[in-house]
């Protein structure tokens, strides 16, 4: 019995245009600007905030200062205790009342101001979207120069879900007016805190 799969593949094979060679993709990384500085510039362009942290900053305390009125803080990083432990969360929908979520980015991309988060960094994927605000710790040593470098990172082959998150949620669908905090987080703050140990 011919399945739709067979029909489609046969049609695609029969109609294939003359073969075109696959080009090699260079890394376009000559003369890239200093990564940390460029990352900060790009992040801010996309509406994210880069929070200066002097060496030895306690992220737990810093976040408390940044969000004095937050009632529910849910953290997936050892440096920040938060008010609700993530492991206690059964269903993603329970995260609906989270004010601030705290994660650590696996790496970042200077060109676009993006941070990489997968299920490993998020704990529960929905955490990065249901919280009103997201705080991401980032080790500056984890900043890659551009997207060509980023897409050679092994995490893309192993993560079930991976997002290059570039600033907070946004839209300009109504008369081109820019709105931050469309459906996802209203703000994204990046704290340059090196990894422990």
């Amino acid at each position: 019995m011919t399945t739709s799969r067979d029909i489609i593949l046969n049609a695609v094979r029969a109609n294939a245009p003359a073969a075109v060679a696959l080009p090699h993709v260079p890394s376009f990384d000559e003369g890239l600007p200093p990564a940390a500085e460029r990352f900060r510039h790009s992040l801010e362009l996309l509406g994210g905030q880069f929070v200066e942290c002097s060496p030895g900053t306690d992220p737990d305390r810093r976040i408390g200062e940044l969000f004095p009125d937050a009632r529910v803080i849910c953290s997936n990083v050892p440096e920040v205790s938060g008010t609700r432990p993530l492991r206690a969360v059964r269903a993603a929908a329970e995260l609906e009342d989270v004010d601030v979520a705290v994660v650590r980015a696996a790496f970042a991309v200077a060109e676009t101001g993006s941070i990489f988060l997968s299920e490993a960094e998020l704990g529960l994927n929905a955490l990065g979207y249901l919280a009103q605000h997201l705080v991401a710790l980032l080790d500056p040593a984890d900043i890659l120069g551009n997207l060509h470098h980023a897409y050679r990172h092994p995490a893309f082959a192993t993560a079930r879900y991976a997002v290059l998150m570039s600033g907070p949620s946004a839209t300009a669908d109504i008369e081109g007016v820019l709105i931050r905090g469309a459906q996802g987080v209203r703000s994204l703050k990046v704290l340059p805190i090196p990894r422990r140990g």
Binding site: F28, L46, A93, A126
Partner: protein, 458 residues
């Protein structure tokens, strides 16, 4: 199916001065932002060339890449379905939902699902479908299709959105504050994300090497649709395949810069495998794509990555509005794709163009759009899809211009009678020209007459 009258629809759009002015300026603005990004990247043209070559390579080996994609996605725990056409796509999606008693579906933007007219199919079978992209939601609530593939409600002003929301969401009538309106959509959509049994996305790219697919949004609504419900269905056109993850470096660098003039969308999301305890399904859809692959002049249109840059730059699109094209795909890309869906209905579209070529210049994957528009005109003529007036005018013009004697008789020095052309054609021509423009004056003598007098003729 009746021939779509683009000019008539466009004239109605232009008549609404405030709408047309905003629409034109907003999309021109996006075009200028695109230019700024392009001019800041020394390798911009090289990236376009790479993107074009990667797509052409993939399309010329598509069967192999589709098989590899399916193999890898399946190994990742994803269920892969194949749909020959829109009807089969809708049936497959419905069956997945009904087998799990899913009654509510939250979805992010997918032109493919528009193409398949999926929503009415599901709604008729008792499934509530919620568009979560703000622009798509506005259009859904207003019972109107999206007008632009990236900014679906760009043809509306805030007053229109206020009216729609007041009518359907119970927002404050007359409150046109954009922040208020956006917040209202956020507030009223959240409960759906939290309660829906199923979520649906499209895909910008499907990576053969890993079986993963990529969805780009600014709102994060695809991530909410996919990561909350236990069931995630992705509808993916077979032309979305690219060979390797590393190729995303090229396409992601080009996509948002071309679409909106921003270096990247706020969310570039990669789905490879379902979450623990959740399900992921992919529906690979043909719906005319394999047939288009076999069209020697038109298969490169399959390279399209749905950025909308061609729409933003098109001076005709900006002044007509996307709805004037009467199809899921409007603007330049619509002009070269839509005739494959219904050649008669869309037989006018290739003429809704000045062939200026700006679209081809901005296309990140270097589709030769304006050249394909030109070729479609020949197809329309050959397949007898030209309106009678045009066909008759061209036939008469062809005869006049093919004969020096008839031509000279037609161009009289004193009257511009343009004799030799059928009366209705002249009437039609000058009536239309003269509606909003002055007709050129007749000179004392033609150039030929002057030449004979002043150079003796040779």
């Amino acid at each position: 199916m009746k021939r779509l009258d683009h000019a008539e629809a466009a004239s109605r759009f232009i008549a609404s001065t405030a709408h047309e002015a905003f629409h034109d300026q907003r999309l021109w603005d996006l075009r200028q932002k695109r230019d700024r990004e392009a001019h800041h990247i020394p390798e911009w043209e090289a990236l376009r060339e790479l993107a074009s070559a990667i797509k052409e390579h993939t399309l010329s080996n598509l069967a192999g890449y589709l098989e590899a994609f399916e193999r890898n996605a399946t190994a990742n725990g994803v269920k892969v379905h194949w749909a020959r056409d829109a009807a089969e796509h809708n049936q497959i999606v419905h069956d997945i939902l009904s087998e799990r008693s899913a009654k509510t579906l939250v979805k992010s933007k997918s032109m493919l699902t528009e193409e398949c007219d999926m929503r009415p199919f599901l709604e008729a079978r008792g499934i509530e479908v919620i568009e979560t992209d703000l622009g798509e939601r506005i259009q859904q609530l207003d019972d109107e299709p999206p007008s632009h593939i990236v900014v679906p409600a760009v043809h509306k002003l805030r007053g229109d959105v206020s009216e729609v929301f007041a009518r359907t969401l119970g927002t404050e009538p007359g409150n046109e504050d954009v922040h208020y309106l956006a917040e209202s959509q956020r507030r009223t959509t959240r409960p759906y994300f939290l309660a829906a049994e199923a979520g649906m996305t499209g895909a910008n790219f499907a990576v053969a090497e890993t079986g993963a697919f990529v969805v780009c949004t600014n709102e994060g609504n695809a991530d909410l649709s996919a990561n909350l419900p236990k069931l995630h269905i992705a509808s993916i056109g077979i032309e979305k395949l690219i060979p390797r993850t590393e190729h995303l470096g090229v396409f992601i660098r080009l996509l948002s810069r071309s679409a909106l003039g921003s270096p990247i969308t706020q969310y570039t999301s990669h789905f490879r495998s379902p979450r623990e305890g959740a399900e992921m399904h992919i529906v690979l859809v043909d719906h005319g794509r394999s047939a288009r692959l076999g069209m020697a002049d038109f298969w490169p249109a399959l390279k399209c990555i749905r950025c909308g840059a061609c729409m933003n730059t098109c001076p005709v699109y900006r002044r007509s509005g996307g709805l004037s094209y009467g199809a899921t795909y409007s603007g330049p890309i619509g002009v070269i794709i839509d005739p494959t869906f219904d050649i008669r209905k869309y037989s006018n579209l290739p003429f809704a163009s000045t062939l200026n070529g700006s679209c081809t210049s901005v296309c990140p994957v270097k589709i030769n759009i304006h050249e394909q528009i030109y070729k479609w005109r020949r197809v329309m003529s050959e397949k007898r899809q030209l309106p009678l007036v045009k066909k008759a005018t061209m036939k008469a013009a062809g005869q006049v211009f093919g004969s020096p004697r008839l031509y000279r008789a037609a161009i009289s020095a004193t009257g511009m009678a343009i004799e030799g052309l059928p009366r209705f054609a002249i009437y039609n021509w000058f009536n239309k020209w003269g509606r909003q423009r002055e007709v050129p004056d007749a000179p004392e003598a033609t150039f030929r007459a002057w030449y004979l007098k002043n150079r003796g003729g040779r």
